[in-house]
């Protein structure tokens, strides 16, 4: 579910702005997530509160936010992939 949300489910799509090898996305506006390797909490905070040009993803459910945060942290091999 996390990968699908990353590439198309979330609106606007993460893929427009971020590069993430596992999702085969090449967005260049925001930081390359493979080099950043954000852990679960960091992704969650960015989605819930917004950061930079990202406005809060208010339309995602708690379950979707959890899946997306877990996915990005796992796909980038971050140190903490759980909350």
């Amino acid at each position: 579910m996390g990968k699908a949300l990353f590439t198309q489910g979330a609106e606007p799509s993460c893929s427009i702005c971020h590069t993430l090898a596992d999702a085969e996305t090449m967005g260049e506006i925001g930081p390359n997530l493979d080099t950043m390797r954000p852990d679960y909490d960091r992704v969650m905070r960015a989605l819930v509160n917004g950061v930079g040009p990202m406005t809060p993803y208010d339309s995602l459910t708690d379950e979707e936010l959890d899946a997306l945060s877990h996915y990005v942290a796992s796909a980038t091999k971050a140190d903490n992939v759980e909350p």
Partner: protein, 393 residues
């Protein structure tokens, strides 16, 4: 809806805090990976840098040394959105900037700007979020420690000269608004991405339209071919790849001005009513020694600056702030916007010490022990958290 939001926010604050606030209260992100430098900064000194991501790169604390200025190949990098293609540097002199909100608005090339006047300013360039890692509430954004700062020389034409040549600022203008030349993707609201910042018109006498950094044409990473440099203000206010400079009655409608870079209380969303992140405050930190050292006479060094005014004095403590001794400035004084390296000569017996420094500016403002937290984690200048523990053998 608001309640739901706050519920989510505090839920997060709870879970994160336990995981990664160390006993000292300093947040250090273990997952920062050692990654190669991205292409556009491949010429930088990798050994002197910490790569947080391709667009956020910090200088190692050990790389400050005692230099009055920072070489460009060690200077931190922070881009709000991806930089434009490097081809914008192919013909630097052809770069155009439009000047608006003046009696006779028009476009000027960089070649023409170079004929209008020239000056050099040494100034601390510091990311608004430098020191974010020291806030305990784990703000979003890069967990910079001390290295998102450098002291650099900018050369260019004073904006005042350009504005006067174009008939002066129009009536009723209150801000200088600079617009960045980043390429924005289709299909997104440009105002969420546009890097456009407004600073109070008072800054007009200090602002430069700069084309050189430390005597070299400005690299892409640092805003070349032309950057609107605002001395005394945090880095975000110095707009890179500047395509338009306008005297405006209102602040920019861009998200980066209206809701981002605001000093709102923890747990709140930023908005136009919260103070904007503009002028820097007095600050200092230790640059050496950073680890084990020999007992006896120890040269404790650091850098200190006042922000918009001269730094007047610095004190250093080896016991985490219980007792202080006065440090001496070393090297040339490059003016009120620059930093001053300092040294305190201390006689240290074997043992464990925590080195901290505390600066006071010419107006008598002193660094606080802790900075009052703000939600996004900007403007950290507390003296305690950036301290360094050393072993003396």
């Amino acid at each position: 809806m608001g309640d739901f939001k706050i519920g989510r926010r505090s839920l997060l604050a709870g879970s994160g805090a336990i995981l990664s606030v160390m006993a000292s209260g300093v947040r250090v992100q273990a997952q920062e990976s050692v990654t190669a430098l991205p292409d556009y900064v491949s010429w930088k000194d990798a050994d002197a840098l910490i790569v947080h991501s391709n667009s956020t790169i910090e200088m190692e604390r050990s790389a400050f040394g005692t230099s009055a200025f920072t070489p460009e190949d060690r200077l931190y990098v922070r881009n709000n959105v991806a930089p434009p293609p490097a081809s914008i540097l192919d013909d630097r002199d052809a770069w155009e900037v439009s000047i608006d909100g003046v009696a006779e608005p028009r476009s000027l090339t960089l070649a023409e700007l170079k004929t209008m006047g020239i000056t050099t300013v040494a100034m601390v360039l510091q990311c608004s979020g430098n020191g974010r890692a020291y806030f305990e509430h784990e703000p979003s954004g890069t967990p910079w420690q001390v290295g998102a700062a450098g002291c650099v020389m900018w050369t260019g034409v004073p904006l005042r000269v350009v504005v006067d040549a174009l008939g002066g600022a129009a009536e009723g203008m209150e801000y200088v608004t600079g617009t960045g030349g980043e390429t924005l993707p289709e299909g997104l609201d440009p105002l969420t991405l546009l890097v456009e910042r407004s600073v109070p018109l008072d800054a007009l006498d200090d602002i430069l339209l700069a084309w050189e950094l430390n005597g070299e044409p400005i690299s892409l990473a640092h805003g070349g071919p032309l950057r609107m440099v605002v001395p005394g203000f945090t880095g975000v206010n110095s707009v890179k790849y500047v395509t338009k400079v306008a005297m405006t009655a209102e602040q920019s409608p861009a998200l980066i001005q209206q809701t981002r870079y605001r000093l709102q209380p923890v747990g709140e969303e930023g908005g136009p009513d919260h103070p904007s992140v503009w002028q820097m405050s007095v600050k200092s930190w230790i640059t050496g020694p950073l680890d084990a050292t020999q007992a006896g006479r120890v040269q404790v060094t650091g850098v200190a600056f006042g922000g918009t005014t001269n730094v007047a004095s610095v004190e250093v403590s080896a016991d985490d702030g219980q007792t202080w001794s006065t440090a001496e400035f070393i090297g040339p004084d490059l003016g009120k916007f620059a930093w001053r390296p300092f040294v305190a000569q201390m006689d240290l017996q074997p043992g464990t010490y925590r080195l901290v420094s505390r600066a006071t500016d010419a107006d008598g403002n002193q660094q606080p022990e802790q900075t009052e937290p703000n939600d996004p984690g900007y403007n950290h200048n507390g003296w305690r958290a950036p301290g360094i523990e050393i072993e003396v053998a």
